[in-house]
Symmetry: C2
Subunit: 214 residues, 2 copies
DNA sequence: GTCTATACAATGATAGAC
DNA sequence: GTCTATCATTGTATAGAC
C-alpha cells in the first residue's frame, strides 16, 4: 500500500492503479447501495458500474460488507471534521449553534447519496449489521451541542433549561431539514429555511411572553 | 372472503382459519422485516415463524411485496385515524399541537416494529419500491399542522411567521422524539421530554426578548 | 493487481395433490 | 385453504492463470 515511488513519470504505477480501482469501486458502491439498498445491491452491478471485475473488489475490500464499512468510515471522518470545524468558531451561542447546523446541513446536501446510505444502515436492520460504531455520529454532535448550549446558559444568553432537551431540539431541526433532502418527493426547505426555523426556536412561537421567567 | 356464516359453533370456519393465517403472517412478516430488513428477509423465515407454509403466503398476498404493502396500508390507516382524532380536539393552538404530537408519539411507541419497517421503506431505495403512496403520511400530518397553526395565528395566540416553517419545526420535534424510539442505542426522551421540548419552542430559547415583535 | 470460469448456497415462486 | 416437492434464478465468494 505505501511502498516508495522512486520512478520516472511514464504511466500509472501499480499502486496508482490500485488507488484508482479503489476509488472507482467506492463511488460505484455508493451509487448502487443508494439506489437499490445495501441488501438488494449485487456485487455484479457494482463492479460493472466501476468497469472492473469481481475479484478486484474482493482483493481490496474482502467482502461486500467490507466496502460498506469503508464508505461509512469515510463518512464518519468527514462528519467529525465538519462538526469540529464548526464548533471552534467564535461568536454568541446562537451564532455558533446556527453555524454548526449550517455546516452539517451543507455537508449533507453535498453528499446526499452517501448520507442516504449511512441513514439507511443507521436505522436499518439490527441483524446482519456491519462492524461499525454507528454512534460516532450521535456522540460527536451531542458533545458539540452540549458544550455550546452549556456556555450559552452560563453567560445568560440562553434561558435556563435541561441542556439535553435543548440539544434534542437543535438535533430535531437538523434532522428535519436534512431528511427533506433525502426524500425525493419533498421540496427541501433550504439553507434559508433552516435559519428561519432556528430563529423561530430562539425567539419562541407564542405571541405574548407573560410567563417566560424561570 | 365475506361469505355468510350460517352454521353451528363447532370449530373454526374456513374463513376464520383464513383470517387467522393472514394475521399470523402479517405479524411474522413485521417481525422479520424489522429484524432483517425487507430485502434481506426471506419468505422461508416468515412462514416458519408464522407456523405455516409458503403457498399460504402466496395465496393470501400474492408475493413478498404484497405482504409488505398490506403492512404499510394498515399502518397508514392507523396513522390517519390517530391524526384525525387528535386534530379534532378542542383547546388553544398550543394545546392542540401538543395533543397531536402526543398522539403520534404514543402511536409510534406502541408500534415500534411496524414504524421501523415503514421508516426503512420510506427512506429506503428508490428502485424496487412497492406500489404504495408513501406521502399519505406527510400529507396527513402537514394538513393537520397547517390548519392548527393557521388558526393559532389568526387568533393572535401564535406569532406571525411562515406557516410552513412552523409546521416543519413541529415536524422536527415529532421526528427527533420518535427516531429515538427506533434507535436501540439511545435512551428515548419519553413523553415528558416531548412536552418539555414543545414548551421550549413555544417560549423560545433566548433569555431576553427585546426584539420579538415580528 | 487483475482477469476467466466456476463452485455452491439460498432465494422467490409454482405445480399439483388433497 | 393448505400441503409436499420442485424449479429456475440469482447471489456471494473463490481457484487459478497471467
Amino acid at each position: 500500500m505505501n511502498q516508495p515511488e522512486s520512478r520516472q513519470a511514464c504511466g500509472p504505477t501499480a499502486s496508482e492503479q490500485d488507488q484508482r480501482s479503489r476509488e472507482r469501486l467506492l463511488r460505484a458502491a455508493v451509487d448502487v447501495f443508494d439506489r437499490k439498498g445495501y441488501a438488494a445491491a449485487s456485487v455484479r452491478e457494482i463492479v460493472e458500474r466501476a468497469g472492473i471485475t469481481k475479484p478486484v473488489l474482493y482483493y481490496h475490500f474482502g467482502s461486500k460488507e467490507g466496502i460498506l464499512v469503508a464508505i461509512l468510515e469515510e463518512a464518519a471522518r468527514q462528519f467529525q471534521k465538519a462538526v469540529t470545524r464548526a464548533a471552534q468558531r467564535p461568536g454568541s451561542a446562537r451564532e455558533r449553534l446556527a453555524a454548526l447546523c449550517e455546516e452539517i446541513y451543507s455537508l449533507f446536501k453535498q453528499n446526499v447519496p452517501v448520507v442516504r446510505v449511512a441513514h439507511a444502515v443507521y436505522f436499518g436492520p439490527r441483524e446482519g449489521l456491519p462492524p461499525f460504531d454507528f454512534n460516532v455520529f450521535d456522540r460527536t454532535l451531542a458533545d458539540a451541542l452540549h458544550r455550546i448550549v452549556e456556555e450559552g446558559m452560563a453567560t445568560g444568553e440562553l434561558r435556563r433549561a435541561p441542556i439535553d432537551d435543548v440539544s434534542t431540539l437543535i438535533n430535531g431541526v437538523i434532522e428535519v431539514c436534512t431528511d427533506q433532502e433525502l426524500n425525493p418527493h419533498v421540496t427541501p426547505i433550504g439553507l434559508d429555511g433552516l435559519h428561519r426555523v432556528l430563529n423561530l426556536i430562539f425567539e419562541g412561537l407564542v405571541a405574548t411572553h407573560e410567563g417566560k421567567e424561570n
